[in-house]
């Protein structure tokens, strides 16, 4: 046996058994390295997401179930809703500090803040931009408050204590008028955005240009920050963000068309590019005559089917809400698909944010229903999404 092995080895051209074994090892080692590297790579791609996903899934598990929602809907008044939320640790700390609406927004903003903090580096920028939503909301709230001459406390109630501007908020609130607020923003990116429109504001005293400039900045940069996907995860994120931006664009156009506004009227409010609906398509949509032609020129995009469904309802009621509902549902479904498709990557985070948005929106709907007269629990339930 040993002899025959030795003869085989020598006929193969190896000087000795030892040399053969050494060569064998070299081959084995190379194979081993290839095996190890190729198996480890996909695993290491998953690795950065395991920690955030566990946290996010814990929070997903704590979202209100249908049953809990129907319990909340049954509440007699706002106080009872507050009491209910006080029993939920995630909400408790805000409910005691702030009025209900602010508490709900703060909780939502906290979720965005959490995700922006724990997400892996390659998607951090996008989530940070998403978090800016709250900065922009706060700035808008403060300018509106200044314009309306609200006092300090009333203004504070509009502010959500999250985002990159939290340190500055105090000094902004103390400002006397809109111009001073914008001056106070010195050192951030916002004065530059507002530079062009501030003159319009000074002439007309209208806040709309300021607000839309801020919104535009957010959406444009959001899309840009997500536009260069590195891997599956970031390209899914791009998909989600893109859908959000597209939906925002379509909403603006549809709303403008219901008021019969022309291309020139809305052009300055639109963001210049979209995800599925690119620049040229946006121009085409803006040039459309009325709502129906907007819908028909969307043919071929994934937004067409549901919008044409909503169109029938629109012709009956003449209200935008059917479109808005359809579009919001589309965003929700996109997020849901992503979260189901991509269990080990970014999916759970997108799914969670979206579900949280819905939960907060539902809670606000309930709160509004309870505040106003004449809404029975079953009517409120109808309004939930």
């Amino acid at each position: 046996m040993v002899d025959s092995i030795t003869t085989i080895i020598t006929t193969l051209g190896f000087p000795s058994v030892e040399a053969f074994i050494a060569a064998l090892f070299l081959v084995l080692a190379v194979v081993a390295v290839i095996v190890v590297v190729s198996t480890i790579k996909p695993v290491l791609n998953m690795f950065p997401y395991t920690y955030p996903n566990a946290r996010v899934r814990a929070r997903t598990g704590r979202l209100f179930t249908e049953k809990e929602f129907s319990e909340i809907v049954e509440a007699e008044n706002i106080e009872e809703i507050k009491n209910y939320l006080r029993g939920v640790p995630d909400y408790a700390k805000y409910i005691d500090q702030y009025p209900l609406e602010k508490a709900l927004d703060s909780q939502l903003a906290e979720s965005y803040d959490l995700i922006a903090r724990i997400t892996p580096d390659n998607s951090k920028e996008v989530f940070n931009f998403l978090l800016k939503k709250w900065d922009i909301r706060n700035i808008k709230s403060i300018i509106i408050a200044k314009q309306a001459n609200l006092n300090l406390n009333e203004t504070l109630n509009l502010i959500v204590p999250f985002g990159a501007l939290t340190d500055k908020l105090d000094s902004l609130i103390e400002a006397d008028n809109v111009t001073e607020v914008i001056n106070g923003l010195e050192g951030t990116e916002y004065p530059k955005i507002l530079e062009d429109v501030i003159s319009t504001y000074n002439e007309t005293g209208l806040l709309l240009p300021l607000e839309s400039a801020l919104d535009k900045y957010l959406l444009e940069n959001l899309l840009r920050s997500a536009a260069t996907p590195e891997d599956d995860n970031t390209s899914l994120l791009h998909n989600y963000i893109g859908t959000m931006v597209d939906v925002a664009n379509i909403k603006i156009i549809l709303r403008a068309k219901t008021y019969n506004l022309k291309y020139d009227d809305i052009e300055s409010y639109m963001i210049s590019d979209g995800y599925q609906i690119r620049e040229w398509k946006l121009k085409e949509l803006m040039e459309a005559e009325d709502v129906a032609s907007v819908i028909s020129s969307l043919e071929g995009t994934s937004y067409a089917p549901m919008l044409s469904d909503a169109m029938t309802e629109y012709t009956e009621t003449r209200s935008m809400s059917s479109f808005e509902k359809a579009l919001d549902n589309h965003v929700f479904n996109t997020a849901k698909t992503i979260s189901l498709k991509n269990q080990f990557g970014i999916g759970p985070m997108i799914g969670f944010l979206n579900k949280k948005e819905r939960e907060i929106r539902n809670l606000k709907t309930i709160a509004r229903g309870k505040r106003e007269e004449g809404f029975s629990p079953s009517m409120i339930k109808e309004m939930l999404i």
């Binding site: 009491n83 340190d167 000094s171 001056n183 106070g184 050192g187």
Partner: protein, 601 residues
């Protein structure tokens, strides 16, 4: 709800004995929860009672709580003062002088170095009546500024500073020189801490007095709440109520009696057997005491279907055996059994769950001990290595001495696997046939019996006569079973054979785990021995540490592994042969009393 809050609060302030000894004691011999006798009150009286008690407790705790909050506020003010004083220590101002006066305004604070440059630039555009004092410290990030200016210029300065992330110090209520402030504040904080401590002591006394009562109250309220909630599922008219529910056959008579006596005969009860097809029948497992703990495992998987054999008893017998097989170390077995006993007589006193877990541990430990003694495993090779001169424990059965004949243990494991699987198949066949699903029984269970018989015949024929005999006698039976597979489960049914083989091979884990326990234990022993003989001077101290630490870790890990793998063998390999499950557990509507009991019993 308020009661819960108060009870939690009192629990949090009650003084806890610290130290490992008391912790250990609470495991071994926890105080028995004393039940308080209560009357069966109606909800209104109960509520009144509850509010009354709560108010009384609150009047006692409230002032103390407020005082603590006040002290905390004071504390944070002082901490702030210290911080500010530390920052301004270089200036050595009198803090009282830094307050704004009629014409002069003074701002002090911290600014980052980058912003400081911008600040200097910005200053050029401002009027000159501004005095800026800054410390010349070498801090790399921040500069401390004190800016003194006329009131008239204050706005300009503050709007400049606002842009620059200037952290303004809050000087209100601070007076004296920085160093004095620091000293004074520190001593004051110490006083406050002492005061707080004495208040916590007071609270703890209150807690001692009232906590129990509140827990009792909480339980009563909980029960009252459940009682009132159940009404929502009743049907009712103006004068009657109607309800529907499940009751176990065992308790039927008793239930009827209760209904009869509480309604004084004014009731109609309709008893019917469940409809197995349509009703979702809840399942109540009923097992002898020794098997009761294992209901937990069965329910964890999914409670059995109403018409199905309850596998709990079989599991109660086999689970500890598998555990023992995986662990096969007498020493570790003894440790596990002792832990089980402690759990049973200690924590188990107040918690049924713990008692059950304790019983499982004891059974598992005993099996591990028996099998360990038989396979020459007692804390690895402790005995042969150091204590007695022979290479095995006297009780060892030589042919299954783990490290001498592992192949025998492997064979044994596979045999155990085959028996276990066949048991599962048998129950499955029985289940299916009683339901009238004969085809299903043939395709998923009986066919394997035939295959096994074929293999056995072939094996016996091969051993006694030779290969041809095996083909003649065993072959047809095997082929028959394969045909049945194809006929009953479709053309790919034959592929199931590999799955079946895999299932049986999976029982090899019994051997793997058995050897890994002994092997690691042996390694620990070897390392301990090496530590003793190789490391000079401290070796003989190090060796016991290695020995004890290593064995504790090994015992914990292997017990966990043995536990999980025996559970897995049941869930994955065994249950998949027959188990249907999917019903839900029977949950009786009843009161759970932990802190109270109804008087008069």
């Amino acid at each position: 709800m308020k009661t819960t809050g108060m009870a939690d609060f009192l629990e949090s302030v009650s003084i806890k004995d610290k130290g490992i000894l008391t912790l250990a004691k609470s495991f071994v011999n926890p105080p028995r929860i004393e039940k308080k006798e209560v009357e069966n009150l109606n909800p209104d009286e109960l509520l009144e009672n509850a509010e009354d008690t709560l108010n009384r407790v609150e009047t006692k705790t409230k002032p103390l709580e407020e005082k603590i909050n006040e002290l905390d506020a004071k504390n944070s003010r002082l901490t702030n003062a210290i911080k500010v004083a530390q920052n301004l220590i270089k200036f050595n101002f009198e803090f009282g002088d830094l307050a704004d006066s009629k014409y002069v305004s003074i701002v002090s604070g911290k600014i980052s170095l980058d912003s400081y440059e911008q600040f200097k630039l910005g200053m050029k555009n401002l009027p000159e009546e501004i005095l800026v004092e800054y410390d010349d410290s070498t801090d790399k990030e921040f500069k401390i500024l004190v800016i003194i200016t006329l009131k008239a210029n204050e706005d300009k300065i503050s709007s400049l500073l606002r842009k620059l992330e200037f952290e303004r110090f809050d000087l209100s209520g601070i007076s004296g020189k920085p160093e004095e402030v620091i000293k004074k504040s520190e001593s004051r904080i110490e006083e406050i801490e002492k005061e707080k401590e004495s208040i916590s002591m007071e609270l703890a006394v209150i807690s001692d007095e009232w906590l129990k009562e509140l827990l009792v109250l909480k339980e009563q309220l909980e029960i009252a709440k459940q009682r009132s909630e159940i009404f929502s599922s009743f049907g009712e008219t103006e004068k009657t109520v109607m309800f529907e529910g499940w009751v176990t056959v065992k308790n039927l008579e008793k239930t009827l009696d209760i209904i009869e006596s509480t309604t004084m005969g004014y009731s109609i009860v309709d008893v019917s057997d469940p409809d197995v097809e349509k009703d979702k029948i809840p399942v109540q497992l009923d097992n002898p005491r020794f098997a009761k703990p294992y209901e937990m495992f069965v329910n964890m998987y999914s409670p059995p279907d109403y018409r199905e054999v309850d596998p709990t008893i079989l599991m109660a017998i086999i689970f500890p055996f598998f555990f023992g097989y995986c662990l096969t170390d007498a020493g570790y077995g003894v440790i596990d059994a002792i832990i089980g006993l402690v759990l049973f007589y200690g924590l188990g006193r107040n918690s049924k769950l713990m008692a059950n877990v304790g019983l499982i541990f004891v059974a598992c430990g005993v099996w591990a001990f028996i099998l360990g003694m038989a396979t020459n495993g007692f804390i690895g090779d402790l005995f042969p290595r150091w204590i007695i001169g022979v290479s095995y424990i006297p009780t060892t059965i030589q042919s299954i001495n783990a490290f001498v004949f592992p192949q025998n243990i492997l064979a044994l494991a596979l045999i155990v696997g085959v028996i276990h699987i066949n048991m599962g198949l048998f129950i499955g066949a029985y289940n299916n046939i009683t339901r009238g699903e004969v085809r299903e029984a043939l395709g998923t269970q009986i066919v394997w019996f035939i295959l096994e018989i074929g293999v056995v015949i072939a094996a016996v024929a091969y051993l006694t006569t030779g290969i041809t005999a095996a083909e003649i006698f065993g072959g047809p039976v095997i082929i028959l079973s394969l045909l049945m597979l194809m006929y009953l489960n479709g053309p790919y049914g034959v592929m199931d054979v590999t799955g079946f083989l895999g299932t049986i091979l999976s029982y090899a884990r019994l051997l793997a785990l058995c050897l890994s326990t002994g092997g690691i234990a042996m390694t620990v022993n070897i390392l301990a021995g090496l530590a003793d003989s190789l490391i000079p001077y401290i070796g003989f101290i190090l060796a016991p540490i290695v020995f004890v630490g290593g064995h504790i870790a090994n015992c914990a890990f292997q017990s966990l592994g043995a536990f999980i793998n025996s559970l897995r063998l049941h869930y994955v390999e065994y249950f998949s042969q027959f188990y249907i499950g999917g019903s839900h557990k029977f949950r009786a509507f009843r009161t759970k009393r932990k802190h109270t009991e109804i008087g008069g019993k």
